[in-house]
Assembly symmetry: C2
Homo-oligomer: 154 residues x 2
Amino acid sequence: MDRLYFEDFAPGEIVEYGDMEVAAEAIVAYARQFDPQPFHLDEAAARATVAGGLIASGWHTAAMLMRMSCDGFLNRSASQGGPGVEELDWVKPVRPGDRLRVRRTTLGARASRSRPAVGLVEFLFEVVNQNAEIVMTQKNAVFVLRRPVDEAAS
Amino acid sequence: MDRLYFEDFAPGEIVEYGDMEVAAEAIVAYARQFDPQPFHLDEAAARATVAGGLIASGWHTAAMLMRMSCDGFLNRSASQGGPGVEELDWVKPVRPGDRLRVRRTTLGARASRSRPAVGLVEFLFEVVNQNAEIVMTQKNAVFVLRRPVDEAAS
């Protein structure tokens, strides 16, 4: 597939990608390492909490979004990483057996004043489960190289 | 140690906690699973990129912040989880051998209108490296149970 440059991200475009099944073991493994709260660690303990059962750490869901985005488009793009996140909402719990995918909307794209070789592309990511429910939304920008002049001319 | 309730988070309070050394192996292990971009996967490949060497995934740094916060105060608090993140900035790269800690500022605290047993505490988290440089900042709120009446009266 062709490498994606700044010019390939058209504001308004919506694409979907990803298919990640969330195993209970993966939820617990993530939580043991990074977010050891009772509702992420153990089904029985989680039932007694506000979560009502085992739920994935929100940071695990964000990590799964990142992985689906790498596989879905970032790793074949000229991405230079991002400066941060503008907004991240955990809308619904992610539970064992859920299957996640991503709907990505390109919100905007602008050239960088300080780095002429690079543009900044602004995305909205919606993580959607098997019931078409949005479980997480995230807005953030990514630096992407502009298409080299020799390629544009060819 | 006493359990921390909503009333224990005073706006303006600043506390520090955490001491996490970032091993190259941990950077690569995280990246393999969640963020397989060249500058997170391999020192030699990373040298050829804009990063100039291996750097941790920003999501890995956010995960390390979460772990330090669990150990530092969340797991002895009556936390009920958070609704999301308002702002997250990756200010400087995190590299192998860095040692991270957290400076937490309590920005505000307010009761929940819909859930009288719960309050929302707003935090600024700054992740600081061994050179006292801020590498990441994050603003987000956490739901925390209010102190039970019988405890408050005792």
